[in-house]
Symmetry: C5
Subunit: 350 residues, 5 copies
């Protein structure tokens, strides 16, 4: 799954899709953003892009589906995106990364979306190619995550047109990272609720839930930590394709992703503490069980021995013939039991 | 709570309150600090600020309450604080951060206050905007934390007027960080007392208290650690809005916040050690219980077997008819018991 | 094995083989790569190399077998590879390293290959000497790992001829690192499957498997972590022997090896979690066993005591002569048993 | 204790003593060091310092006691030590720090002294102000720690006069750090002895001792680690007040404090290992106890059942009337016991 | 042992021996290395060195024994080695360090030697002073470790004469570090063998051996880790006393010491895993013991109760007089036992 044997030794210039989901049509949507108005359209072939090249407007081309190797080849020709960049786009298992090339900047990041119905997180790779007045984004599956940005473009087309493709890229990355925090927040709420529940009554189910949450958290960490590394690299690179006016936004991205990583670490610590509480309560339970067993055993073992003694069939056991022998034995046994209980009380065993 | 779904994808320029507490009036207090005298007043609208603009005095404007989006918009116009800075001010869940802008410096930090009556710590976000001869501070709730600084302004107005808005900002941040250490100190005292108590008698309550203190400590850490990062960034930035004469004060802030983080780590280590002591004492207790059970069982089990043997009803058991059979059996049993006790003594089981 | 006593204090210029496998012939294969065509041949002596020196084509010389000290000496003379470099080549236990010398660049890395039949990983040392239009590679054993690269050379000889020996070296290193990820992926699948299995039924075998996988993983880590260090050093060195056009490829190598290290850490964490789950399930099992023992003991111990009492042979035990004595005792015993069961139910012991 | 409520919000220029021990006189001793001779005297007021100002000799003024706020104010006037520096001097709870000011260098460090009689470590704050030909040192309590330096001054006044106030400061700091290592060494010896003791016989006291040593060690770490940070900062600062000829001495300080930190880490590891050994031996003990209990129980439980069977009072139990029934039962019971023992032997339970 | 009380506060220029072993003669051996020939001699006084000063040959002076303070003083005069350097040489407990001085470079490192007869590692301090055409080495005890280097000097005197004193120093350091790896390798083999042994049969001795190996490993780490720090500092210093032609050798030293540290970490991880395996196997053993005890107890406890019931002496127990009462009871008891066994089988307890 991580790396198929047949993909080892591929040329970095080869446009071959390395993911799993080959089905579905490729869908290309186009935003043409000008100071006053926004044109939205769906295109079917790369040739339709030609009129937009070198236009004065800001163009955002979003491509859903990565497996059309012929289309990718045409993008190399039409938009001058280098083949080795597109080769990376076609590897959905890639690590978050950034790379500057002659006429643009390539950024890739993992996008997470909470499917609220199914209560599970779907992960997709988002690739962004930032060029002069042109942003191309690639995803494997269509997603609604960027609808608020689309809305903002429609309302504030002038700001986007002024601040350029790098601001638009920031807006998308910002949504991606805000979603990290949103998903983490949901997970964190479950973790915090669990803690309150545990103080009440740590049942056997608790351990399974803790392990599940731990797994989920470390899964999120796999995507969030490398994303942080990438964002920090992006801010440090001082790329020419990020205008000075937009640098502060990228710094804010860095603050946000740092917050996400801090949350990860905080929740991980919480879970670790909960695990400890669980184990402590389990070992306290074992200790309680043993204490009860011991109290019972230690009290009754000598008594049982005594009644055994007088159950023996020797011809000559003088006590058996005493008038109050039976009652004396009862008295002795009561004394022993009371002595034991007093001892356990003193040692605080119950 | 961390991030509401509807706040994902907001423009960084949008002045929208992202916190929870929308109630309460906005309260604006103004300090006009001159070499010789200090004027204190409460203002109701942003327009009242106009006469103070570009005055020769040092102005400190404190705003309690962040949810008035219209007021914030007027601040952009009147004081030329950029909209994206105020947008951050209106996000109380933000991470401690610093950002320089064209005509000022923006700093945000978490403020902690111990409500001694209720014995719990309240957390508020403090935002500071440092400009030429002007300091604007924002909090969600009114707080008495800065009263000592207000007192010092009244007494030493000349020093504040001379050293400027950056010195005033330092004085406030200094109070915030001193409070971190004060609160940590209180928590630390509880932790250290617990240790002494534990050596006496580690009861079952101890574990709950340890877990509670651990939780509280890691909660403080969530605010203090990022604050350190921010302070270090502030010192490293060598911002133009921090005069060289005040740099040493900011370095002292860094020393103080470092001390807070070291305390965090030291107390965490103490708690961890206490947890270990608790677990050791619990497992020693279990081990003691088992030893007692074993001593009793191992002594009485063979004795009970012996008395069982002579309780059997076989027609032909010669020993039963011996004259001193009963007493011989008692002798054998005593020998066995003494032998066992000697063995346990030798193995140091009691 | 790591260091033989007789190899301590060897001169760094001494061409002495320091490995174990001295057997087998040395095999030298040669690729002569030109824009239009590729010549492949096997040579037997170093002298056959002379015509290729200073030719305009790109030469790849691959040498399988490192123990021919005479041959190595001739390489010093013929190809001007410094003796101290070749001395490192002849030490198969060396750490991944890179070193620039006057007329070239020396790189060594561990190569891992999964022998699918035997289901085990074989490790070999790969040394690369990158010079102008010449790449010399050394391995101890012949391997099929580079066949895809050979195929690519045959198909795209022009690209290789244009991008030079450093691109060819990158292609080989890329295959090595892709293999790391491939092998890690296989191991990771086993680890993830184990987790699912464990939730069902953590048998006794599980612990052995976890320990085995842990060992395997930490063994991979021994080779992958230093390789990362080496690759990072290579990228940072900005060596003259890596053309600017190929630098981005080396950066991609760095991304790939970083991904490998992240996988290592992720799987290690998974294994650690699995170990915890195993131990928890074991201690739950112990706790369950003890609870059952205790329930049985605590119920029957007093009952057995009671029946013992009425098995005593005292002359005067009034209850024995009651008409319904036997049935009353049964009643009392049932009450005790039910009371106990109710108590255990309340404490949730079963 | 760490921070008093009334000290929050103090001005960094306010000369207020923030420690606890206000009692005792202030004691000022003066060394006037010239090439040929050394004058030692005790002074009572700051005015007595005036004749020494700007003298050609090297002056070392040592002040024991920090609570005289008036005196401190006079030092500001007489020696031009800035008020904010002296304000730090008057805070004995401060972190080790260094700060350059216009005409000098301020260094503060924790001084530890082993009171051999009481076998406990006392901690005091040492502040050093290094100026041209003048060193002022502040301590809360008088200490004998620096007597060897005083001796060296008397013997080698020329070297001190030549190398200046920074060399004198180094000599004092060197003593402080040598004392760290000396105290650590004493603690370390206890830790190492404990290990040997444990292998013999890990008694119940051991755990208490380990926890005590751990506490002591982490207490030392609280002072030593920040001191290292300060020393490293001092070396890196390349302050003008440290002459190039003395830089190597400060580098040696850094080596020494690094050694102290390494010792801390090494002893901490030893203690951690000892704790593990203790727990292992405890759990082995529990396991041994349980094994014995089980062996006894498992052997006697079936035997006791058998003798119970033949203690039943059924009218019709044929075996009871066999001639050798009793002896046959003994034989069966012996066989069972031997079988059990053989099984346990095979499983290596004893 | 680490620091004697009387050594605190010593001047860094004082030539006082701070070690323990004062006995034995000082032994000075001299190698005079020229292009064509090597002269070896033993000298008795420092004056014999004078003819070699400023000679054109390369001189290696090796001094075994550090306690002759007079001799050290003469070295200051004759060879211009600064007193503070020699003061460090006379402190055998010093940390590995390097220091450049006016006319040379001082390096000190711990030398480890495996005494194969006694199977223990002896540690000595090696100090090297590298000057123009002169290398002075100091050890406390005579050692055979450098014999291979002596051999190489005799064979390749030209190379040593050409590459100079820094190459000779490298050759010695290389031997020291190769010995680290050799000793680690031996320890590592023991650790790896232990692992195989453990899978077979983790006896009680295993824990002691693991703790012993752990102690040994962390002891090696105490010397190897600071040595790495020193070597890295040496490579970074770009000292004038290391000729550019020899820099690559020093980089190789760094690679070797890094390999040693990686081995340390790898073996430490192995030992940690082994400790876990041991504890797991111990807790599995305890769990097995408990399971057996429980199975036996739970089966026989109710049976023993039943036979007790019919051992009671009530006048009126109807079942006792049934014809097949005894056999019915046996039947019931068999059913109970089989039911229990089936239940345990189902829960996989045996």
């Amino acid at each position: 799954m991580l790396k198929r044997k047949e993909d080892i030794g591929l040329s970095p210039y080869e446009l071959k899709f390395r993911g799993l989901h080959r089905s579905g049509d490729i869908r290309m949507t186009l935003f043409e953003i000008d100071f006053e108005k926004v044109n939205e359209s769906t295109i079917r072939s790369v040739e339709e892009l030609l009129p937009y090249k070198n236009s004065e407007t800001l163009i955002w081309l979003n491509i859903d589906g990565l497996h059309d190797e012929k289309l990718m080849g045409e993008l190399v020709g039409t938009l001058q995106i280098p083949a080795d960049i597109l080769s990376d786009v076609m590897e959905p298992g890639t690590r978050p990364q950034m790379e500057e090339f002659d006429n643009g900047l390539f950024v890739s990041i993992k996008m997470m979306e909470l499917n609220e119905g199914k209560n599970r997180v779907s992960v997709d790779n988002l690739s962004l190619v930032v060029m002069d007045n042109l942003l191309v984004t690639f995803q494997e599956e269509k997603s609604d995550l960027f609808n608020p940005v689309r809305e903002r473009i429609r309302k504030h087309s002038k700001r986007f047109r002024t601040l350029g493709a790098d601001y638009l890229a920031f807006a998308l990355l910002d949504v991606v990272i805000d979603n990290y925090i949103f998903i983490l927040g949901g997970l964190g709420e479950k973790i915090e609720n669990l803690e309150n529940e545990m103080i009440m009554d740590p049942g056997r189910e608790t351990l399974k839930i803790i392990n599940l949450l731990k797994r989920e958290l470390s899964n999120l960490g796999r995507y969030i930590r490398p994303a942080r590394e990438m964002i920090i690299g992006l801010v440090k690179s001082e790329s020419d394709f990020i205008a000075p006016v937009n640098e502060k936004h990228y710094k804010e991205l860095q603050d946000n992703i740092n917050q996400a990583v801090e949350l990860l670490d905080y929740y991980r610590e919480l879970l670790y503490d909960e695990l400890n509480i669980y184990h402590s309560s389990m070992s306290t339970r074992l200790s309680d069980i043993m204490a009860l067993l011991t109290i019972f055993s230690v009290i009754f073992i000598p008594l049982t021995f005594i009644v055994g003694v007088y159950g023996m069939n020797f011809d000559n056991i003088p006590e058996l013939h005493w008038r109050y022998g039976y009652f004396i034995v009862w008295g002795v046994m009561l004394l022993i039991a009371i002595g034991m209980l007093w001892y356990f009380k003193k040692r605080k065993w119950f």
